[in-house]
Amino acid sequence: MDFLDFFNPLRIFGETSYQNFFQWLFSTLFDGWLARVLGFVFLFFAYWFWVRREQLARGLWFLAFAFLMGYGWIIFRFLGVAK
């Protein structure tokens, strides 16, 4: 178990600061201009790989990221990660 403790983030950060970090991450990454920029970038690559290069798997990955950028806020809020 000592080995697994190495991966426990709460060993380094306090529970509150760890939670605050994620709150900050979700409030900046999924809510604001950064989300919009990343969303459009992912969407472009989704089209590029899927439609232009016909690489369905990569296209779907980028589409999933683009979807996450757009709707990530409500998904994580629903899951209780972000408030």
Partner: protein, 246 residues
């Protein structure tokens, strides 16, 4: 694609034909093949459509069908969410009041694949010349598959979304699901929250009707773009011929 020994359409015109028939796996292969044959026919004589085997015909139809069906499914899945965003029922980028940029983003995320495929497939339109034989047949087969896929998908989604609206998400059903959840205290669901969820579902179910018609529109768009390009090539050729005859 190998461009081995020379073959011809009956005459000794020295046109290079592909010797092996590699499997057409995707749209990219199909369009490349059409462009290659169109290029050969532009440089030399018509290549008999007999070289376009039954197996290849099926493969071209299959590729067109798959392209229409898969891109349409993504549009179909995202369409109710898009309508939900426009109706301010679902937030995008953390906001229930989407800006014009947000609306463009959601619209592109939903319609983009049908539009992208349509524009990409429209490239074959320029290969639909009267002077070509095999290229025209290839384009015809691809378009048959594409049209069949788009129509089938549109019909299926139209019926499914109407079924959801008229039979699944009806008030009686939603109450039937929510009451036991509230009684058993699942997800710590209070009566007030259950009421909110009920009202939200009642608003959201309406999006399925709009979404179903939207999917029909995108399916039409997917097939209309390549057909428009084909028609443009035909008209352009007719005009050139008329000028030549003068």
């Amino acid at each position: 694609m190998s461009k081995g020994g020379s073959g011809s359409s009956g005459k000794d015109s020295g046109i290079y034909l592909p010797q092996t028939s590699e499997k057409i796996k995707n749209l990219f292969d199909a369009i490349s093949e059409i462009e290659f044959y169109a290029g050969s026919e532009e440089e030399g004589d018509k290549i008999s459509e007999k070289f376009f085997t039954t197996k290849q015909k099926i493969q071209f139809m299959e590729v067109g069908f798959k392209a229409a069906f898969i891109s349409g499914m993504i549009t179909a899945l995202l369409a109710p969410i898009m309508v939900g965003v426009f109706e301010k029922l679902i937030p995008v980028f953390g906001s229930y009041n989407p800006t014009i940029i947000d609306q463009i983003y959601v619209f592109l995320l939903t319609i983009g694949f049908s539009l992208g495929y349509g524009i990409f497939i429209a490239r074959v339109g320029k290969c639909y010349s009267k002077n070509y034989s095999i290229s025209r047949t290839m384009v015809n087969n691809l378009m048959i598959g594409l049209t069949a896929g788009a129509l089938l998908k549109a019909g299926f989604i139209f019926l499914l979304f109407h079924f959801i609206y008229f039979n699944i998400l009806i008030p009686e059903n939603v109450v039937k699901w929510l009451v036991p959840l509230t009684k058993k205290g699942f997800f710590h669901l209070s009566v007030e929250n259950a009421e909110k969820i009920y009202l939200w579902i009642m608003e959201f179910r309406k999006t399925f009707l709009t979404a179903s018609w939207f999917v029909v529109f995108t399916s039409f768009l997917l097939i209309a773009i390549p057909y428009y390009k084909i028609l443009k090539t035909i008209i352009k050729e007719k005009r050139v011929k008329q000028v030549e005859n003068l």
